[in-house]
């Protein structure tokens, strides 16, 4: 006679995993996301996430800072990897800069209002 309490129970057993082992199902992994966040007052923060590996984020940040005349920093996030943070709303400027440097526009996603 089996003791019911001792049975192992997998809560996700009946939930078939549609993704399987495939990591690319989300299909969002290749986009460069440019976001904006409001700070206090009329201040904003622009973040650039998902930069491809072949670009040096540090050098890019330096170029951004010089080009847009703003300060910025490089943030290491556990999930998102390296994220460039810039002061002020630099979204369109970033997107123009990146497209001029040869990054296809359809890989850049501009978020925010």
């Amino acid at each position: 006679m089996s003791v019911q309490n001792l049975n192992t129970f997998d809560p996700f057993a009946d939930e078939a995993d549609p993704l399987g082992a495939n990591q690319d199902v989300g299909a969002q992994q290749n986009y460069i996301h440019i976001r904006i966040q409001q700070r206090n007052g009329r201040k904003t923060l622009t973040t650039l996430q998902g930069l491809p590996r072949e670009y040096d984020a540090k050098k890019l940040l330096k170029a951004f800072k010089k080009e847009f005349a703003c300060n910025g920093t490089l943030v290491d996030d556990e999930e998102m990897g390296q994220v460039i943070q810039l002061q002020g709303d630099q979204r369109t400027k970033i997107s123009n800069f990146l497209t001029e440097e040869g990054i296809p526009r359809n890989t850049i996603k501009l978020h925010g209002f």
Binding site: E15, A16, D17, P18, G26, A27, Q28, Y31, H33, R35, I36, Q37, Q38, R39, N40, G41, R42, T44, L45, T47, Q49, V75, D77, M80, V83, Q85, D89, R91, T92, R105, N106, T107, I108, K109, L110, H111, G112, F113
Partner: protein, 365 residues
């Protein structure tokens, strides 16, 4: 500081002030999602607005005009055949060559361009160019005969025109010339007065391509039904979001339930998207209004809603807003009610959230 000033929207585009916000179903708009393959979708249509028309109306119109058009076309083709024997269509071709640069300039402001979408003008040009390239390859096979005649007869002008074209398109010289010879798409946006019956390929003996016939169809369609171009009945309109300020740091989105009902979407989904896009947080108060942290203006929210609609409401295949969003196995699927297509949509991800505000507040939480 006056809080009503447009503080946060340096990048916003100016929109015409309307009472009801018309969310155009065309992802080609200026604020369209860059990830949607907009021009590719349009390939099969002759001018941008073909997409905007619901399939139903086009069908109805086809039925209405089918008989008349067929008769007309038959008569014309018979006539053109005679002409063709007489003058071999060469004069016509040459004329087209001279017109071509003018047409390219005119495209932006052509009166016949049915711009239902405000920004469709530029997009039309792109799709036009694209179509040209596409068609040139197809037609290169068809046109060998005509092309050789062209080569013999037209020298200097062709070279000049060809080079001009090359500067723009970067195509092969030969292909360009063949295309220049009888390119119906260069005149795709020509005034409606000269269309339908004056296509340069009518006089020739080759097979018609699908694109050409489609162009012809739309021309005669719009020529006989000018009301189609200006009809606003099919446009998808929802009430503009009403945004009020609560205090200094919160905005209230009052009619979110109405808008969600109108879009047939769960408010939770819309709210999730709004918060992810705006990079903020908020809550729903007792009377169903959404309280958003941060200061937002109506047009900013409107912009985000527009993108929501493009991504999660309109069907990518037929542009119809009659879609259902269902969740299966943690993935959202959008099924179209009118065309039956079904596709998965991106999950909403808020992405990286920078540290805003005091760190000490976060530490304790």
């Amino acid at each position: 500081m006056a809080s009503e000033e447009p503080l946060f929207d340096p990048s916003l585009k100016k929109r015409s002030k309307k009472k009801t916000v018309a969310f155009s179903e065309d992802p080609l708009g200026a604020d369209a999602d860059p990830t949607t393959p907009a021009p590719a979708l349009d390939d099969t249509t002759t001018n941008g607005d073909g997409v905007d028309l619901g399939p139903k109306t086009v069908h109805e119109q086809m039925k209405q005009n089918g008989v008349a058009d067929a008769d007309e076309a038959d008569a014309k083709e018979a006539k053109e055949d005679d002409e063709f024997k007489a003058m071999f269509g060469d004069l016509k071709k040459k004329k087209k060559k001279k017109e071509l640069p003018l047409d390219l300039v005119d495209e932006g402001s052509g009166t016949s361009i049915p711009t239902v979408v405000p920004a469709a003008g530029e997009d039309l040009d792109f799709s036009d160019l694209k179509k040209k390239k596409k068609s040139s390859k197809k037609k290169a096979a068809f046109d060998l005969e005509a092309f050789e005649k062209e080569l013999n007869q037209s020298k200097a002008k062709d070279v000049v025109a060809g080079e001009e074209e090359e500067g723009e398109e970067g195509e092969l010289h030969e292909v360009d010339e063949a295309e220049l010879g009888e390119d119906p798409f260069a005149r795709g946006e020509a005034p409606t007065g000269v269309d339908a019956g004056t296509e340069p390929w009518l006089g020739t003996d080759r097979d018609y391509t699908y694109q050409e016939l489609l162009t012809r169809f739309y021309h005669s369609l719009h020529a006989s039904n000018p009301s189609l171009l200006t009809s606003t009945g099919k446009r998808y309109t929802i009430a503009p979001p009403s945004i009020h300020r609560e205090g200094n740091k919160k905005s209230i989105f009052a009619n979110i339930t109405d808008i969600c009902k109108r879009m047939h979407r769960q408010p939770e989904h819309v709210i999730q998207y709004l918060f992810a896009e705006l990079g903020t947080t908020g809550s729903v108060d007792g009377s169903g209004r959404l309280v958003i942290r941060g200061r937002f203006q109506q047009k900013q929210i409107e912009n985000v809603l527009r993108r929501y609609i493009v991504e999660y409401v309109t069907c990518k295949t037929c542009k119809s807003p009659d879609t259902l969003l269902t969740k299966e196995n943690r993935i959202f699927f959008m099924a179209c009610e009118s065309c039956g297509s079904r596709r998965s949509v991106n999950a909403i991800k808020s992405g990286f959230q920078a540290q805003v505000g005091k760190r000490s507040k976060n530490r304790t939480g």
